[in-house]
Amino acid sequence: MTDKNLKLEIITPEKIVFSNPVDHVKAPGYNGYFGVKPEHIPFLTVIKTGNIKAEMGKENKCFAVCGGFVQVTGNTMLILAEAAEDAASIDLERAQRARDRAMKRLQEKAENTDIPRAKAALLRALNRLEVAKM
């Protein structure tokens, strides 16, 4: 174990969601989940909708993210996401409503429904629910 920490920064257009040193991060990359520890080589990838888990000592933190990038340089891991939420602050009711709305849209298959968009919305809502229950 190195005594160095990895600085994790999660930034969305609206705010800085998280910026603290951590020991280990797991994130949903282009080819599936990957882990980052301190002293990782420079790395750049796309992230998908999913959850980010950060470990620091005995504490764990979990975030729901959708769409964005990860850039690892030296000992900083930068996550630029279009949306990211701390698991503790997810509004369960809102997520459920979003899920139901997306499902309804997919089932009705109205002419002007943007299917990929509805699917993406459903995925995001399900992801938020899943993360919130973790």
């Binding site: 257009p13 609206e14 630029l80």
Partner: protein, 286 residues
């Protein structure tokens, strides 16, 4: 000459108007502060995004992304951002005038207009100007998803060739009392010269720079739209604050004048009454 009661009533009415404009000014100031913080909080994201974009752009091949295709500008789209509400001085009027000037002077064969905000929409609707799309009442509860939706719509139209160029006309927020109406190119994406200041880090790309760039560009466009929406919102509150401040000052001035007028009238009435009494007494003595 107006009667004393009329003047008094007038003063009361101006006073109550002043109370309203003062309250509106306070509300605008509070909202402006909020909008400004929101605008500020986009800074870290903006800085990092430019950073990542620079890193990737250097690596990817010169294969043009669909959003970068520079076609001859035959079909041009203008996106006009106005406020949803009035009471903000010449904010909306300036924007509409600017947009009309741009539309008239543009040499493009086909011109489209998209409005964001109710005031612009109402104006062009009244004048039977065809609108490609409009978005109203989003400033009440501005969220990043609004920016995503609008940007997605514009990107789609650009990609399928409906538009060759997309410009955005909006008020840039300089400070609380100054806004600058300006036009900004949204599509195609202009390549920014990447300055070589530090030694480029050799990244491990997954899967490859091209795929990452393809995802990065829509993201940065969403973000640009978001920034513009916030700038416009902040400008609107700034303009409203200034307008309401001026209105309150004017009301104050008016009250001062009316009070002076009222006092003069009162004095004249008293003098007249005295005159009558004195002359009546004189007559009795007579």
């Amino acid at each position: 000459m107006a009667t004393l009661r009329e003047i008094k009533r007038r003063i009361a009415s101006v006073k109550s108007t002043m109370q309203i404009t003062k309250a509106m000014k306070m509300v605008a100031a509070a909202k402006l502060r909020k909008a400004q913080t929101r605008l500020m909080s986009t800074r870290p994201y903006s800085r990092q995004l430019t950073d990542v974009l620079g890193n990737v752009a250097k690596k990817s091949h010169r294969d043009l992304h669909p959003m970068m295709k520079n076609r001859a500008p035959h079909k041009v789209c203008y996106v006009l951002l106005t406020a949803d509400k009035g009471f903000c001085g010449s904010f909306n009027a300036n924007l509409i005038r600017y947009a009309k000037k741009e539309l008239n002077s543009s040499p493009a064969e086909k011109k489209y207009l998209v409005t964001i905000g109710k005031k612009g929409y109402e104006h062009f609707k009244r004048n039977d100007f065809p609108l490609y799309a409009h978005y109203i009442e989003i400033f009440n509860n501005l969220e990043f998803t609004h920016a995503q939706r609008i940007a997605a719509e514009l990107m789609k139209a650009f990609e399928n060739g409906t538009f060759d160029r997309v410009y955005i006309i909006y008020n840039r927020f300089k400070n609380a009392v100054q806004q600058e109406t300006q036009v900004e190119q949204f599509l195609p994406v202009q390549q920014t010269a990447t300055e070589e200041k530090s030694k480029p880090i050799s990244f491990l790309y997954e899967p490859n720079p091209q795929v990452i760039l393809d995802k990065l560009i829509p993201m940065s466009l969403n973000f640009q739209m978001w920034r513009i929406l916030l700038e416009s919102a902040a400008s609107e509150f700034g303009a409203r604050m200034t307008a309401m401040e001026t209105a309150s000052d004017n009301a104050q001035e008016m009250i001062k004048e009316l009070t002076l007028y009222y006092n003069k009238a009162r004095q004249a009435a008293i003098t007249k009454e005295l005159n009558e009494i004195v002359s009546g007494a004189e007559a009795l003595k007579g």
